[in-house]
Amino acid sequence: MQPLLHLENISKRYGSVRVLDGIDITVADNEFLTILGPSGSGKTTILRIIGGFEGIDGGRLMFEGRDLASVPINRRPFNTVFQDYALFHHMNVAENVGYGLKVRGRPKAEIAAKVADVLETVGLGALGARYPAQLSGGQRQRVALARAIICEPRLILLDEPLSALDVELRAQMQRFLKSLQRRLGIAFVFITHDQEEAIALSDRIIVVHRGRIEQEGAPEQLYRRPRTPFTAAFLGENNLIPGTLTSAEGAVCQVETAAGRLQATVDGPVPSPGSPVLLAVRPEHITLTANPAPGALLAEVAEIRFLGANILIELRHPALPDTLLKVRRLADGGTTGLRIGQSLAIGWAAADAALLAAS
């Protein structure tokens, strides 16, 4: 099936700075695609290219098989929620939200009704007459969101649309976006820094790093099977332990590390023995035991941080002085006995430790 949108080998430069390099992305109809990446990696630039706000220095942008090069911004069936909102400060909230309908010549009554409806949805029912300068940051963000969705475009581009919202509102908006996706069959290209959000909402995640695509896939797949150290470290927390591959038996490998010989599972081709590798273990996969079996990995509790629903325990292994091993536990009382300085045995299932080629 033809993708809705296809970015083919896009590259983009600002002066001598190359910000995008061979970007290839497809967006399927009704898909919720998230672009994830560090600050400055090129996410906004990708969005702006799709929206038509930036030209490209190489590659093509295809929409349903048509090249978008000659399609002006206002003819692209996309709408954007800008990172800086870009609200019209001389129009009130209702006028901002209704603008897309107004320029399409819809009747006033219809616009008023739809605006009221959408404002209700984003929880700003009472603020239609306010001007942007009279709103809080989060309220502005919601206006920007309302303004983009009212036209029910084929594709919505969202640049961190929920970053200024509190958890509750955020959850509510997330539900709203998902329902929108389901109800209207709209596709979303979404930028967020919130990984839980990315994982919870997305059908697919694309990890961008320094203007290149690092890895892409379904959220769980990406989380569970990162293929590069960057993805492993960037998407969710990870403990990365460097070592050398000594031997492999099927997918299960032996790795020689400073802390001793450890086991890991490789996804894909097995590196040749002797090559430098990284062993990645998620904090939630590490088990802690107070009474170590002989030969167990021993580490010392360096910090215990309460995070709300979770507790983060940081441990120091004498042979790994530069890295704190992070362990996550549910804050359900199961960790009450822990004390800083305490020595614990740590372990994980070989299946939970991923082997990555060191870059």
Partner: protein, 295 residues
């Protein structure tokens, strides 16, 4: 960044028929070409001809330009006019900036009205205003008579009129509004939170003025300076009317060549020199704007 994205710069793509493109360029380059450049071009040509026995000699020569540098007092008058305009421009830009900042610091509600009160004097004919200025400042004018009547002086002050100073004052007063407007309009776009941020970082109001307000007002200040310089450099009526025996300026010399003197070639050459001067002023103003980083 441009308010209007376009296809021409490395901006975003935009569909526009070739016909529309041609029309757009045609309007913007064609209209000025037709209504400005073509008519004026003939004068540039004329400036390379000469006058002999009251008749124009159609042979290209630089004689008129040479005359400017060597004959009569053209160069001297040119230089003194240049100095005069430069002085008026300087003082007016300073005053207009101060006034624009003053307006800018009022509440948004009152700004427009105050601004307009500075523009309103433009709606009285400048000839009438010059007459009025003269009847105020004359030796037997309203000011002197008033001061005499009040007993504040016992001899009329003589020096108010018919001097270089008088020209200076009259030009400054007549052209001040032209400088205020563009400067204010530039200040008006300064985001309010920039001032909040600079104050927050410890800047005194004066420092905020120096670092935020004036740099961001620079395009307006440049425009105001250009307006003032050009208008005063070309105006010969005001100097003539209030300047006494000092009121002779370059614009007047240019003008005089087109009357009974019938010396269009020399007049055109002098006009070209005047044009070169004002163009230079514009270019200079443009240079100060080079480092402009718009949001």
């Amino acid at each position: 960044m441009n308010p209007m994205p376009s296809s021409a710069r490395s901006g975003p793509p935009r569909r526009r028929g070739i016909a529309r493109d041609l029309l757009w360029h045609g309007l913007n380059l064609g209209l000025p070409l037709l209504f400005v450049v073509l008519p004026i071009l003939s004068f540039v040509l004329v400036s390379f001809w000469t006058l002999k026995d009251g008749q124009i000699v159609h042979v290209l020569t630089l004689a008129n330009y040479r005359a400017f540098f060597t004959e009569g007092s053209y160069l001297q008058v040119y230089l003194s006019t240049l100095a005069l305009s430069a002085q008026v421009t300087l003082i007016n830009v300073v005053l207009a900036t101060a006034i624009a900042v003053f307006i800018f610091r009022r509440t948004p509600r009152t700004r427009f009205l105050i601004l307009m009160s500075f523009m309103l004097p433009l709606f009285m004919s400048y000839i009438i205003k010059i007459y009025s200025i003269r009847s105020i400042l004359g030796q037997r004018g309203l000011l002197n008579e008033g001061l005499l009547a009040l007993g504040l002086i016992d001899q009329p002050i003589e020096a108010l009129l018919f001097s270089r100073t008088a020209i200076f004052i009259a030009l400054a007063v007549l052209y001040l509004p032209y400088a205020i407007l563009p400067i204010y309009l530039a200040l008006d776009r300064i985001p309010a939170n920039y001032l909040a941020a600079s104050a927050d970082l410890g800047a005194t109001p004066l420092q905020a003025l120096r670092d935020i307000v004036l740099p961001l007002g620079r395009p307006g200040i440049a425009a105001g300076a250009v307006f003032t310089f050009i208008l005063t450099f070309g105006d010969f009526v005001t100097p003539q009317m209030v300047g006494g025996t000092q009121g002779f300026t370059f614009g007047r010399i240019v003008f005089s060549q087109f009357g009974l003197a019938l010396n269009w070639p020399l007049g055109s050459a002098l006009a070209v020199i005047l044009l070169a001067t004002t163009l230079l002023a514009v270019a200079l103003a443009g240079l100060t704007l080079r480092r402009e980083h718009v949001r």
